[in-house]
């Protein structure tokens, strides 16, 4: 059995490779190509998820060698540690429905000639992610990391005729490479300090100490933070995620950002020795800022996919908040509390993956049906797309953190960790916990506003455009993918005890943490804390609500004298009720735009076109824009600086062959001198 388990990860990679070959072979027959590539990807992902299951449920050790380069003696080995297995499980849970969905979705979103390219890139991304999560070697990690970035960039640029897609892909490429640069520097420093390329040697916490450790932490946090999409490194995310086809957006938001989270977990929290208090506080701070600003920006978006992309930033923030709280507690020696925070963070990783994939796929159905992402052009879709509407509502409720769905349980755990942190962590540090709690409370309430808006404006009331009036429900494969993800979120919400039991194996494998399984009270409940414990059983909440619903139904049907249900038009304030009299998405978020105007710094233009008298305008145009704070005040100066340096360096590029030859000569001489100098 052990032997079989060891084959799963290489087998997954081989299947990815075979799938890519088969995709190329069938490239001209688009239907075949589509099924081949996505079924192949699903099989491969299922294999890697099996590895995750063997490690997490059966406690097997899985590891081995992926690649040997005889000439240089490079051996790329891998080890599925429980942390890797957790992220592999997340990958498996989300990407199989996404692959299924893609089969139905791509024919409507991408020209046939590009099926093969998208399919290959999809397989490469998944294979690279699998390697990133399990590899135990610096070279292998960086190689897979880069491959993942490049394949994703090509997916973002699928619709490369559009300028916005190209710009998004370019921005993503640049940001990722700056991040990767930081990672390369940091890993090389670690390698030269230890003389080993193996993760188990360089990430055991003893490799570096003193100020070097500090610098490494910041480099890694920067490098992984770009991928995780936390503020202020997020600028690429709201451009790149919506630009890709919706199923790819789902994959990017749900799984790709977790590669960054995995890195922060593996290296920043547990790879550099016991974290400093300051590191934990930095992570918490970044998490808080990302969460609150992410949701505030999401609120004002009227482009459904951009709204979801900003909400991804917010969720990355919540994940990092839990992680940071855990690091702070670990730094102050409160391991039994740290485990709650880390469990909350890891739990939120899988929760976010399920409901965000669900929401993005739901948005994909809508985009496919009406060919626009603008909320203002939707409306009334629930009647025309009942499945999509109901499932999107399900996702909206889950992400808003209401019981008994899964978003609630990870927020519950995070709040408990913060409360206990304030109680037991010594010194002024502890003030950060209730502060974070208040921010988290505000975030989750704002998320509810955001998703009432997204669901209500898109799916309810009257259609706001001709396309929305004639929308059709999507094919059954696509709906099946949504149902699978919704079912997963339901299970994750109702059985938190079982999930924590599995997480227990992950936390015990992390340096010096007790098992999170101790928090579990049977499959249905979770309890934290010593003394009078606090417990949550979402199933009881669900039963209570269902019971009360029965009371409501009895009241309504039991007391009534007149049995008929009459349908009547909505009162249109004396006029005709048309889509133009409905409340708009812009109007819905307007009060919060006004309340937080110091953050948004909105600029607005009102233009009234009148013919007879200014009091009876024929047409009123209203435009509101929020200031892109980070782009304008952080990135613009950097870009200007880089460009002006490049401008000055143009002197070197004189265009004369003689000059270039002399550079070569000078460099050659300098190298000879330097190498000779080392030789002595």
């Amino acid at each position: 059995m052990t032997a079989l388990g060891d084959y799963t990860v290489p087998a997954a990679l081989v299947v990815h490779g075979l799938t890519i070959a088969a995709t190329l072979a069938t490239a001209r027959r688009s239907r075949w190509c589509l099924w081949t590539t996505f079924v192949g990807a699903s099989v491969a992902v299922a294999l890697s998820a099996t590895a995750a299951w063997l490690v997490l449920a059966a406690g097997q050790r899985i590891g081995g060698v992926l690649f040997v380069h005889a000439a240089s003696g490079l051996v790329v080995d891998y080890a599925v540690i429980p942390l890797s297995a957790w992220f592999l499980a997340v990958l498996g849970a989300v990407s199989i429905p996404v692959a299924l969905y893609s089969v139905g979705y791509l024919p409507h979103a991408v020209p046939r000639t590009r099926f093969a390219a998208v399919g290959i890139a999809f397989n490469v991304v998944l294979a690279a992610l699998e390697v990133v999560f399990v590899v135990n070697n610096v070279i292998g990690f960086l190689f897979a990391w880069e491959l993942m970035t490049l394949a994703t960039v090509s997916l973002v640029a699928t619709e490369h005729e559009s300028r916005t897609s190209r710009r998004a892909a370019y921005l993503y490429l640049i940001m990722s490479h700056v991040g990767t640069g930081a990672l390369v520097a940091a890993f090389l420093a670690l390698v030269s300090a230890t003389g080993s390329l193996s993760f188990s040697a360089i990430l055991n916490g003893t490799a570096v100490s003193g100020p070097g450790r500090e610098i490494l932490f910041w480099l890694f946090l920067f490098g992984f933070g770009v991928k995780a999409g936390v503020i202020p490194l997020h600028v690429w995310l709201p451009e790149a995620h919506p630009a890709a086809p919706s199923s790819i957006s789902a994959l990017m938001s749900a799984v790709l950002i977790t590669a960054g989270v995995y890195g922060i977990f593996r290296v920043c929290a547990f790879g550099l020795g016991t974290p400093d208090v300051a590191w934990g506080l930095v992570c918490m701070g970044i998490g808080m800022v990302s969460a609150i600003l992410g949701v505030l920006y999401a609120l004002t978006q009227n482009d459904l996919k951009r709204l979801l992309a900003y909400s991804t930033i917010e969720n990355a923030g919540i994940i990092l908040l839990g992680l940071g709280a855990g690091m702070t507690m670990l730094a102050t020696g409160r391991r039994e509390l740290a485990v709650i925070a880390f469990a909350a963070s890891l739990y939120h990783v899988i929760n976010h993956a399920t409901f965000k994939a669900l929401l993005f796929l739901g948005a994909g159905n809508v985009v496919m049906a009406i060919a626009t992402r603008q909320l203002e052009a939707m409306g009334g879709l629930l009647r025309r797309m009942p499945w999509t509407g109901a499932l999107f509502l399900f996702g909206a409720l889950a992400i808003s953190g209401v019981p008994p769905l899964n978003g609630f349980i990870s927020e519950w755990l995070t709040f408990q960790a913060l409360l206990l942190g304030f109680e037991f962590v010594p010194g002024l540090t502890r003030v950060s916990f209730p502060l974070a709690g208040a921010f988290l409370a505000m975030t989750s309430a704002l998320v509810a506003v955001c998703f009432v808006k997204a669901f209500g404006i898109a799916f309810l009331a009257l259609p706001r455009s001709a396309a929305a009036e004639t929308a059709h429900e999507s094919p059954i494969v696509m709906r099946a993918a949504l149902v699978a993800l919704a079912g997963l979120s339901m299970v994750l919400g109702i059985f938190p005890g079982a999930v924590l039991g599995v997480l227990g194996r992950v936390t015990t494998s992390l340096a010096g943490l007790p098992s999170a399984g101790a928090l579990s009270r049977g499959a249905l409940s979770v309890a934290v804390g010593s003394g009078p414990f606090a417990q949550v059983t979402p199933a009881v909440l669900a039963v209570a609500v269902l019971g009360a619903l029965a009371i409501a139904a009895t009241l309504v049907s039991g007391v009534r004298v007149v049995r008929v249900i009459r349908r009547a038009p909505t009162w249109g304030c004396g006029g005709l009720l048309t889509p133009r009299t409905e409340y708009t998405a812009t109007a819905f978020s307007k009060p919060l735009l006004m309340v937080f105007r110091e953050i948004y710094r909105p600029t607005r233009e009102v233009e009234a076109l009148a013919e007879v008298s200014p009091y009876f305008p024929r047409e009123v145009r209203y435009r509101v824009e929020i200031e892109p704070t980070f782009e304008r005040h952080l990135y613009d100066p950097i870009v200007r600086g880089v460009l002006s340096i490049a401008e000055r360096m143009k002197v070197l590029q004189a265009g004369s062959l003689h000059a270039y030859l002399s550079y070569v000569l000078l460099l050659g001489a300098a190298l000879l001198y330097w190498l000779g100098g080392v030789g002595e």
């Binding site: 629930l382 509502l393 808003s400 953190g401 019981p403 927020e411 519950w412 709040f415 408990q416 409360l419 304030f422 109680e423 709690g437 208040a438 409370a441 505000m442 509810a448 998703f451 009432v452 808006k453 669901f455 309810l460 009331a461 804390g529 009078p532 606090a534 417990q535 949550v536 059983t537 909440l541 209570a544 609500v545 269902l546 019971g547 009360a548 139904a553 009241l555 309504v556 007391v559 007149v562 008929v564 249900i565 349908r567 009547a568 038009p569 909505t570 009162w571 304030c573 009720l577 009299t581 409905e582 409340y583 708009t584 109007a587 819905f588 307007k590 009060p591 919060l592 006004m594 309340v595």
Partner: protein, 314 residues
């Protein structure tokens, strides 16, 4: 199994009792307000008459609406009723102790709010949208203040479980701390905001541009409206009970028995009445705030929460 049955029985009785009492609280508040204004006011039981009348009426629904419109009031009602099972009322323990504590309570009320706010958008009426947007905005602003207030009280007990908080409050020690005054004031502002009372919202008006909660449910009629009204009344009673649990649990029964329960009932009624009087005083002596002044009020509440936390624990 026996314990589960017992808990369920207590939960049902408690939910039924609070459902029965909620309209009376509204009646008392209306009557007291009338007295303040030297009017006669409606009878105390008017709330019940209204509910019965509404429940007997035919159902009229907008022809643009979908099942979300039907589900809204039902879920709003159901979550309010389910929330009563998470709060200790007479006994010093919530019927469903391990269900989720304070956070479960906040979460379940958020579910009801979400359902009603979404339903309000379903008719296509601009008022529904306006009400929905404003209600959600105010709730979002009030949420951190609520959480901070709850944190402060929960920290003393070391648990976010309401039963534990109450038992801690009943235990030996100081009866009332200075920080409690600040936290109570902060949470009282949240109570006003969440239940739509003056100065945040005015439950007695249908003035087009100022209404919040009423705008949201403007399109509802008959039994649907009855559910919304009843649930709103219940939520008000629920929030008051929550404040009682957190700050003045005195008199709550720690054991089963006729005498402790009788004392607990009397104490609870008296304390709810005190809160009703305070609400009436606030409503009668204040004018409704402009919508964009509400954030300042809520910010004060948030500040009070932080001060309470600082005084108590630093």
């Amino acid at each position: 199994m026996n314990e589960t049955l017992q808990a369920t029985a207590i939960a049902v009785v408690q939910a039924a009792g609070m459902l029965a009492a909620a309209p009376l609280l509204r009646g008392v508040i209306k009557k007291l307000k009338a007295v303040m204004q030297t009017r006669q006011g409606p009878p105390l039981l008017q709330g019940y008459y209204d509910l019965i009348k509404l429940l007997r009426k035919e159902i009229v629904r907008s022809d643009t609406s979908s099942w979300v419109y039907v589900a809204g009031p039902r879920l709003y009602f159901a979550t309010a009723v389910a929330a009563t099972t998470l709060v200790p009322v007479l006994l010093a323990a919530a019927p469903f102790e391990g269900a989720g504590g304070i956070l479960g309570l906040v979460g379940i009320l958020a579910l009801g709010r979400f359902a009603l706010a979404a339903a309000a958008l379903d008719t296509g009426s601009p008022f529904g949208g306006m009400g929905s947007s404003r209600e959600m905005t105010i709730a979002a602003l009030a949420e951190p203040a609520l959480m901070l207030g709850l944190f402060t009280s929960a920290l003393a007990a070391g648990s976010l479980d309401l039963g534990a908080v109450v038992r801690n409050g009943l235990g030996p020690g100081v009866l009332f701390r200075p920080s409690d005054i600040l936290a109570l004031a902060g949470l009282f502002v949240v109570l006003i905001a969440e239940t739509g009372r003056i100065p945040v919202d005015n439950p007695a008006t249908h003035l087009e541009l100022t209404m919040i909660h009423e705008a949201m449910v403007l399109e509802y009629a008959g039994p649907d409206l009855a559910l919304v009204e009843w649930a709103s009344a219940l939520k008000e009673l629920l929030y008051i009970t929550l404040l009682i649990d957190l700050f003045i649990p005195l008199g709550m029964a720690t054991s089963f028995g006729v005498v402790p329960l009788a004392v607990a009932v009397a104490a609870w009624v008296a304390k709810v009445l005190v809160f009703a009087v305070v609400i009436v005083l606030v409503e009668s002596t204040n004018a409704k705030l402009r919508l964009f002044r509400v954030p300042e009020l809520v910010a004060v509440s948030l500040g009070l929460g932080f001060l309470a936390l600082a005084i108590r624990f630093l």
